[in-house]
């Protein structure tokens, strides 16, 4: 790292990614290998791991101890909760959401995937695509993670056979494509031996693609904003009321999608009033144009009523407002979500009262079959819900916008985060929910 100049360091982009895979697939080893081989583990951390491993009577340093941060995790040797890791190469900075793989931790995978641009799904080359793999692919598809990497691990245990890798890659890609995953990159690796993680493998010269790290470094992180609906949730009204700025009235927020320009005609939702952007401040500096995910302050030509919770959108591209929200949800709380439940719904910067009107279906992740009218959703369940809100909300489809198409439900009595919601149809080719359980399954 010592050869990198300050300019090079500053110019890099940030990639947020998540890992998915059960313990036996070698996820901890992969994460440890990525951190270790990219020289992101510092001497004192490694010494601490060596000390702790030795005191447990282990012969080799257990790299999982690098990532299991809680007392209970180290005691039980399992990962309980999402942890965030940071590492860098000369090309890019990485934020890794290291998520537990067990089915009872589905909510943690959803948490990690919600902010991820990429998910690495691990499979064991000896076992191929299993139920857990399908579950991970389904969650990546549901959360609309833009890039999916299939890491076929333990290639050393199948004699580095190309045919083994090719069969798994083909099966997974077909399945993921059917779910609507836009892009799958399959990479044969051995996390234990270090093949194709950071360094290219000498044992798999039949593979011509990138290593895991190379792919992470080069995958595009920006989007084609020309096709995005511009959205600015108003967080806070900035009014200095000082001698220097007696009339300054700015609407502060982080652009959730698209671009805004000075002079754009805009509509304020839910009120529907229209005006024009007179100026944009990017943290104190005036700019002509701003885009997602910049935090900006927008000034308007007219003195219209705008407050926290409102959404500023281009007048020619305003979403409809509705009090009836249909969504796919992942229930993340221990107490169940039931029909008739009174909740708070936080969407963008707006929190409104809401009631769960119906739970038309619950998804079984094991086989992606659909169970109609389950009555309730318990922790880690994924299902469809219909919610009536006390006030109209300008929601987008999650397929169009991960930020303005997502919401959380909150228990009004104790503030617990209950449910993660994604508005609109899920997956790529949705079909209407049927009342009888049927085998073509996951088209909820």
């Amino acid at each position: 790292m010592s050869t990198i100049t300050t300019e090079e360091l500053s110019a890099t982009t940030l990639l947020r990614f998540a890992t998915a895979g059960s313990v036996d697939d070698g996820k901890s080893t992969l994460v440890g290998r990525l951190l270790h081989d990219s020289k992101s583990v510092l001497t004192d951390q490694l010494e601490a791991v060596e000390r702790a491993s030795a005191s447990r009577g282990q012969e080799a340093p257990d790299l999982a101890l690098l990532t299991d941060g809680l007392r209970a995790e180290r005691e039980q040797g399992i990962t309980i909760d999402v942890a965030y890791r940071y590492f860098a190469t000369p090309r890019r900075r990485f934020i890794l959401a290291d998520t537990p793989g067990h089915v009872q931790y589905t909510r943690n995978m959803v948490t990690g995937a919600s902010t991820a641009e990429l998910t690495v799904i691990l499979v064991d080359a000896r076992n191929g695509v299993v139920e857990q793999t399908r579950r991970h692919a389904a969650i990546a598809a549901l959360l609309r993670v833009p890039h999916v990497v299939l890491a076929v691990n333990k290639m050393d245990l199948v004699a580095y056979e190309e045919s083994v890798f090719a069969a798994i890659a083909e099966e997974f890609t077909a399945y993921a494509t059917e779910l609507g995953v836009p892009e799958v990159t399959a990479i044969p690796i051995s996390a234990l031996a270090g093949d194709n993680v950071v360094e290219p493998s000498a044992k798999m010269d039949w593979y011509g693609g990138p290593t895991v790290l190379e792919h992470l470094e080069t995958v595009p992180v920006s989007h084609d904003l020309a096709h995005c609906h511009a959205r600015l949730p108003v967080q806070y009204v900035i009014r200095p009321q000082t001698a220097e700025h007696p009339d300054y009235r700015g609407y502060a927020g982080q652009i959730a999608a698209g671009t805004f320009r000075v002079g754009d005609p805009v509509t304020i939702l839910p009120s529907g009033r229209t005006t024009t952007i007179s100026a944009i401040d990017l943290l104190g500096e005036p700019v002509d144009v701003a885009w997602t995910t910049q935090s900006v302050t927008v000034l308007l030509t007219d003195d219209v009523d705008v407050s926290r919770g409102d959404l500023i959108v281009p007048t020619k591209d305003a979403p409809a407002t509705t009090q009836d929200v249909e969504a796919t949800v992942c229930h993340v709380a221990d107490a169940p979500l039931t029909v008739g439940h009174r909740v708070l719904l936080k969407h963008g910067t707006r929190t409104v009262k809401a009631i769960v009107k119906d739970i038309p279906s619950r998804l079984t992740l094991d086989d992606l079959s659909l169970h109609p009218h389950p009555g309730q959703l318990v922790a880690n369940d994924i299902g469809r819900v219909k919610i009536r809100t006390a006030e109209p909300l300008p929601v987008d489809s999650y397929a169009d916008s991960r930020r303005t198409g997502s919401f959380i439900l909150i228990d009004p009595s104790d503030g617990t985060t209950l449910t993660a919601g994604m508005v609109g149809e899920s997956f790529a080719t949705p079909e209407p929910v049927k009342d009888a359980a049927d085998d073509d399954g996951w088209d909820f």
Binding site: T218, S222, Y236, I238, R402
Partner: protein, 312 residues
């Protein structure tokens, strides 16, 4: 590895990709504004160290041209570096801020807390901090903690609910989804907020350099009288160092973190400019805390245990 980032991103709408520092800045500003919008009485923990200085800088940008709508809270161990106190008072005056001080010395003088045999006051900060939060009814408390600092902190949420005793329960954290932070809390509870969660030490330094933020001089190499204890260079002071068998010498050092003088070590360094500091940190094979914090070497779960009790 033949493709560069620029080449890889050409043709994919790359002009709209934010640099990693811009992305981190935007996220932190979003967090400050969420708190301003949702809480009644927030406060920024301010030690005069680089992370809290960075937080204040980001808060100033988030609400410009208006004033920062938060006050500051300094937990004063009584073992401060004089340069840091001077810096604290200077920024408070310059920005017209309100400063609250929770004093460990007061608690010792009143007999509520007892000096520890090792002289360190870091663990003694928790009680004055949590009592001040209760007394002033702060409902959101910004901390400069970063997840890259320590493995328990890697598990921390951006919005972290604390009960009426300020306790952290890592197994009962709210899942944090998208950028939809949940700040709901009952009376008596508060939320610790960490806008720098996703920053690394190097990010902090690069951003300080980019924004040309003024820092206390102890962050840059200077001659100082120090003595060695447990492999760290400590500054002599009224807190009880050096002991008889510890020899004071003059060395060219700087600090990577600022905390209680009794447990914050200096590192040998020639870095007198921000660029030199960045070069030094990029090449360092030691973490910030591993290099300079005695209290985190006590046990594998030292930080987790302190955080559970209400430490920041």
């Amino acid at each position: 590895m033949t493709t560069t980032v620029a080449e890889a991103e050409e043709g994919t709408g790359a002009p709209y990709a934010l640099s990693h520092l811009d992305a981190l800045e935007s996220e932190a500003v979003h967090i400050f504004r969420e708190v301003a919008g949702e809480f009644e009485n927030p406060v920024i923990l301010f030690s005069g160290g680089k992370d809290s200085i960075l937080m204040l800088h980001l808060a100033l940008k988030a609400f410009a041209p208006a004033a920062v709508p938060f006050s500051l809270l300094h937990v004063d161990t009584g073992h401060n570096f004089p340069e840091v106190l001077e810096y604290r008072d200077h920024v408070v005056a310059a920005h017209g801020l309100r400063l609250h001080v929770a004093s460990v010395q007061d608690y010792i003088d009143r007999g509520v807390l007892k000096e520890r045999p090792d002289g360190t006051r870091n663990p003694l900060q928790t009680l004055p901090l949590t009592e001040k939060i209760q007394a002033e009814k702060f409902d959101a408390v910004f901390g400069g903690g970063r997840r890259d600092e320590e493995k328990a902190r890697a598990k921390e949420r951006v919005f972290s609910l604390r009960d009426e005793f300020s306790q952290w329960d890592p197994r009962r954290q709210r899942p944090e989804l998208w950028n939809l932070y949940n700040g709901r809390h009952a009376p008596g509870e508060h939320v610790r907020v960490f806008p720098l969660s996703n920053w690394t030490e190097l990010d902090v330094w690069q951003y300080i350099a980019r924004e040309d933020i003024e820092l206390p001089q102890i962050y840059f190499a200077h001659e100082r009288e120090v003595f060695q204890r447990n492999g760290m260079w400590l500054t002599a002071g009224e807190w009880g160092g050096p002991k008889d068998d510890e020899r004071v010498e003059k060395r060219q050092v700087r600090y990577r973190t600022v905390g209680d003088m009794s447990c914050t070590g200096a590192v040998d360094s020639d870095a007198v400019t921000l660029d030199q500091v960045i070069t030094e940190i990029a090449a360092s094979r030691l973490t910030e805390r591993g290099a300079t914090r005695a209290d985190d070497k006590l046990s594998e779960a030292a930080m987790e245990d302190r955080k559970r009790e209400g430490y920041f």
